[in-house]
């Protein structure tokens, strides 16, 4: 429609209109980029008061992305209709794809590549790093710890979560109780580390204990203990306890929703037939929500496989508490052994894949949202 109008205009007018439009099409993106670049420089170098920087950063970051979409869409819509239809979808999905390829897809390949080289990436050694990792007694201890995390962390979160969900379902204080169990999920791992360091704090025998656990322990007649450095490998349990405290809320929410989804008639029918509450629970309720139990367990398994912050804040991976993710950090950033570090990251990926694939399958079977 537009082009037929343009044809009717005089050649000179058509020419100026086109040139003008092309110029504007070039100018507007240029101005946009220039403005954003100035914003970047301001944020990087400015000595302005912190408050101003924060406000500018938020406006620049959020507004900048929106502006980029807007301007590039405007640009695409200036093109002839057929081209617009061809290009526009990539304007919508392109940025996401580009970022994902840069931040996840390529790094996976690059990390895999680095893992085949020696510590400073100067010499190709094939699978040498993998051989070293799986025979190093220190690494075997790391794998054992992760196994402890996976088994104990997951089991206890599921059991407590289920227990609270079932109890809350029968209580009048349901939402209040659930909020309390849920609350730790909003706390950072570093914050949780501080909270629990305080509970595990140890003082000399002669002084008053300010850590709750030692106060109880001494009150019962024990000697003050440094719980997280204590007899290995049991100190791992005191770290796992933190994650149980943090993640039970997650399990509880999913179980609670699943329990609400169990048809009341089935439970009623069983009660009428003379089943007691325990039988109703174990023979009807739990089999009914088995799907959710599996989903929650797999999610928690992935979570515990990748556990990092709690360990690094509580012990820094010392005293035999190191796990895969902290070992990766230590090898890469402390030992500067890029080969081993990358190898550990790849092992983590390989360990996560089967659980994640299973989990996704579960999710796609259920209706999301």
């Amino acid at each position: 429609m537009q082009s037929s109008q343009e044809l009717r205009a005089s050649p000179f007018e058509w020419l100026t209109a086109t040139v003008g439009r092309v110029l504007i099409s070039i100018l507007i993106p240029l101005i946009t980029f220039f403005g954003l670049w100035q914003g970047f420089l301001f944020l990087r170098d400015s000595q302005a008061p912190k408050f101003v920087i924060v406000v500018v950063a938020i406006l620049w970051g959020v507004g900048g992305v929106a502006l980029l979409y807007f301007v590039s869409n405007w640009l695409v819509e200036q093109l002839p209709g057929r081209m617009t239809r061809l290009i526009q979808p990539f304007l919508f999905v392109g940025p996401a794809l580009a970022i994902l390829i840069w931040f996840l897809a390529l790094p996976t390949i690059r990390t895999l590549w680095i893992s085949l080289f020696n510590s400073d990436s100067s010499q190709f050694i094939g699978l040498g790093n993998y051989l070293k990792v799986f025979t190093d007694p220190n690494m075997l201890e790391v794998f054992r710890n992760n196994l402890l995390w996976m088994v104990l962390g997951t089991t206890f979160c599921v059991v407590f979560g289920l227990a609270v969900a079932i109890l809350a379902d029968r209580s009048r204080f349901e939402s209040f109780a659930k909020s309390i169990i849920f609350l730790p999920m909003a706390i950072s791992f570093v914050g949780a580390g501080v909270i629990w360091n305080f509970i595990y704090e140890v003082k000399d025998k002669a002084d008053a204990q300010i850590g709750l656990l030692n106060a109880l322990w001494v009150g019962l007649g024990g000697e003050p203990q440094a719980w997280t450095a204590l007899i290995q490998p049991w100190n791992n349990l005191f770290l796992i306890l933190i994650v149980i405290w943090l993640q039970t809320g997650y399990a509880m929410v999913l179980f609670s929703a699943a329990i609400k989804g169990v048809p009341g008639e089935i439970l009623e029918a069983a009660r009428v037939d003379g089943a007691n509450e325990w039988q109703v629970l174990f023979q009807i309720m739990i089999p009914q929500i088995m799907g959710t139990i599996i989903t929650v367990s797999t999610t928690l398994v992935i979570f515990t496989l990748k556990i990092f912050d709690v360990v690094i804040v509580m012990t820094g991976g010392q005293f035999g508490t190191s796990v895969i993710a902290t070992e990766f950090y230590r090898q890469y950033f402390t030992n500067r052994d890029f080969g081993i570090g990358s190898t550990i990251a790849i092992i983590l990926l390989v360990a996560v894949i089967p659980v994640m694939v299973y989990n996704l399958k579960q999710f796609s079977e259920r209706e999301a949202f």
């Binding site: 992305v65 869409n73 061809l86 996840l104 305080f198 300010i210 929410v253 929703a257 990766f328 994640m356």
Partner: protein
């Protein structure tokens, strides 16, 4: 037992057990919260639970032993006979008092103590002032001397956390929403393959990406800027965001979109005027997750912000105090609580969306 009785017992059992679990779950946070308001010396010398009324040995008077008393033999004081070592530990007299030797053997000073009801409830806001403003403050040590110590500048870190978290929440949601719409409602070659690629990337743990990205940032001189952290969080949050939003956007009723098309609306207009307002519940659910995740993140900040003190976020600041001043509990408790303040507020005010997000699978893969 009558059915009513059994019902009552059942209710008691359920509520009692639930109350017990809730109590256990609340104790750690409660202890931190209470301690953050206690005087710095009180925190170091007594448990936070001593703010509750309890019985404790308190000094009522003091006495000096005569100088000629042989202190290497058992001594008789106030009707009890005990050695120096026993007095050091404290010896009870028949009338319910306790005698405790203070100082060394030569000093010969004895405290008379009585068991009395007491509380350690002196509350102060000083810890918060110290941890927030980073000013120098003078403290009186137990022996009367004075010492100047520096607090911590957490208010700066708080602002940094906001500058990191808000864009790192909005940007991935915006990009993911565009992508979700593109995959759900636009036709282009390779649509299915590209979508599967995004879903497949859900399995990649972010540890894999840290080092290659760090190298890119060093090349681009981006390390330690807000942009670097936003982009990293965007990259790591995108697969999940796209997946969840796609699930939602693709379920929207088809006829609304079609009638908009017939009216001549472009994709961009439909997206901004129709899809975004309709997707608010899904966007909100994911936003809360991403916000809490970014705010509470330590690893990504640690690697991409590193040692730059003027862009450090809360979690880094806090972890640094744990590392360097791990026994300064007055700073740690107040600092930890400040770092929890915003997430807890967001969490409690928007709990509904949070739960919905969890049920839809908002868990960092």
């Amino acid at each position: 037992m009558t059915p009513q009785r059994r019902n009552l017992l059942g209710t008691l059992f359920v509520n009692g057990l639930l109350a017990l679990i809730c109590f256990l779950w609340l104790i750690p946070t409660l202890g931190l919260f209470i301690s953050s308001f206690r005087d710095r010396f009180d925190i170091q010398t007594s448990g936070w639970w001593t703010i509750l009324p309890h019985r404790e040995w308190l000094k009522v008077s003091e006495m000096e032993l005569p100088a000629d008393q042989d202190r290497n033999q058992p001594m008789t004081i106030e009707g009890v006979t005990a050695t120096f070592e026993e007095f050091r530990e404290g010896v009870q007299t028949p009338d319910g008092k306790r005698l405790t030797w203070v100082g060394n053997r030569r000093l010969g000073k004895i405290e008379v103590q009585e068991l009395r009801w007491t509380t350690n409830a002196n509350f102060t806001l000083e810890n918060y002032a110290n941890v927030l403003t980073g000013k120098e403050y003078t403290i009186k040590l137990a022996d009367g001397s004075e010492k100047i110590e520096k607090g911590d500048d957490m208010s700066g870190a708080f602002l940094n956390s906001i500058a990191v978290s808000v864009p790192a929440t909005v940007i991935p949601i915006l990009i993911a929403a565009f992508a979700a719409y593109g995959f759900a409602w636009m036709n282009f070659p390779g649509r299915k393959a590209l979508f599967i690629l995004i879903i497949a990337l859900l399995v990649v743990p972010l540890q894999i990406a840290l080092v290659p990205i760090l190298r890119d940032y060093v090349t681009l001189d981006l390390n330690g800027t807000f942009l670097a952290v936003w982009l990293a969080h965007t990259g790591f949050g995108l697969p999940l965001a796209t997946y969840l939003l796609y699930n939602y956007v693709s379920q929207l009723p088809k006829d609304i979109l079609e009638s908009a098309f017939i009216d001549g609306a472009s994709h961009f207009t439909i997206f901004t005027r129709l899809i975004i307002p309709l997707s608010v519940p899904a966007l909100a659910s994911f936003a809360i997750f991403q916000f809490l995740w970014v705010w509470n993140d330590y690893l990504v900040a640690l690697i991409f912000i590193g040692a730059k003190p003027d862009v450090q976020v809360m979690t880094m600041r806090l972890a640094e105090i744990v590392g360097s001043r791990g026994s300064d509990w007055h700073l740690l408790t107040a600092g930890a609580f400040i770092s929890m303040l915003l997430p807890l507020t967001v969490f409690f005010s928007l709990q509904r969306f949070f739960v919905r997000g969890l049920l839809a699978g908002s868990v960092k893969g």
